[in-house]
Amino acid sequence: MIDPKPKTIFQKERAPVPGSEGSSRQLDDELLLRQTFAEDARTGLELLFRRYHAPLCSHAVRFVYSKQIAEDLVGEVFFQFYKSEAYSKISTSYLSYLFRSVRNEAYTYLRRELARTSPLSADSENQQATQAVSPDAEIHYNQLYLKVNEAIAQLPAQCQRVFLLSRFEDKKYQEIADELHISPKTVEAHISKALRHLRQALQHDWMTH
């Protein structure tokens, strides 16, 4: 019959309570998470996941513009966090660690995909493991997703629609063609145009070491 508490766990977390996020509460949260991990890592992982999964995905999608890829990236960060037992090693808060990792993963992903035409940047790809320490990294990440957003907003309407259908919604060329009543060839043309535009817009954004 009535389920008195429908799946509210995500919603309760998500509903922001402006001003009520005192720093003492943050510390308590973090402490609770750490204690849970110490007692039982699996339970700790679930708590951590319930708390941060949605905002992390929301953040990642600003970079990669695909729900699928955003969730893959975030899932991978949680997986590594668990597998490498980072939870017992890191000195920063879990929250900070997760956001830093997701931003870094998203950055790396975009660079692999969009900067690969240049042999120079393909080279620097090998150094990606060390890049997290760069003091400017966080600033670069911010600029990057804002630029991605701006670049997509600049696309002509139809090109943008095709791009988002393919990218954000993960649809096949044929499906997009059917939906928009255009030929698959046109879909392809729109997508390579969007890609070219993105590559160009972001070409100076790949950090050099």
Partner: protein, 338 residues
Amino acid sequence: MKSDIPKHTLFEYLAGRATPLEKKAVEEWLKVTANAEYFHRCVYEWELQSPQYQPDGDRAFARLMEQIEEEKTAAPALAQETAPRRSINWRFWSIAASITLLLSASAWLLRRTILYKNIETGYGQTVSFNLSDGSHVTLNANSALSVPRFGFDDEVREVMLKGEAEFLIRHTPNDQRFVVKTSEQFQVEVLGTEFTVFARPRGTRVALNKGKIRLDYQNDSRKKKLLMNPGELVTLDPEGRLTRRHIGKTDQEVAWKEHRFAFDNTSVLEICAIMMENFGVVLQPGSDEIATRTITGNFKAETAEELLMVLVEVLNLRIQKENGRIVLTTKETISKPL
């Protein structure tokens, strides 16, 4: 965890709306490694307030658990090697992707997920968030708001609502209009103001708290306009009839924000509709007499059961469960004796 940079400045910076001076200050501040902790906390809060979309957390967690199980059962020797770090297929354009997984939203929302960002609530949930223009929205249970992914900041800020929401609209320097569409036939247009919109199958209701708004609606296929003043409540029934009345304070319209239900001579029949809208629970009056009984007063109820208890106690009724429905009957009669 004190910061020299106010949180709202960081939010503006994250949204790409900071002034050049603010931007410079934030970026200087960010170069100090110790500030990363506070910065990430702000990114987290910002994402809670302005989510891009809502992922299916249950499914994602199940997948993570599978991945962990697989890892365990794989030969332990293999794990020693520097295994390929990621299981992600690095495709930018995935042609053969599993799109079916994404097709779980309802048809109405599906068409709009491409160019629109959707925020949805389930039964019994409410959620508050900011739009990219700084306007604040609180969404009641079983409701959905669609916001254009691009072009929202253009001349007209347009959103689509199914269900019930409160809007606190930020007036922009360039006087952009803000439009809430509830159907092809009805829309609310404003500059900067506070109001609530209720748009469900049993009608549309708009209550204005501050400022001025214009309603555009269709009646007998003719387009009509109505200017609303603060303290007014306009209702549009499913047949397209419009009524306007002055109610003074509009607080009652947003009672749901505190999980309160404000009843004012509200009939049991109406409460049954509210039950369905907010909790997805099928409740039916056992007789016409019960259907027309009314309740007045404020009641706090976070769940369907709490609201049901109120009804039962106030009206001295009993409940009977019959194949997925709940029927309200009087205490004396037993409708289905065995």
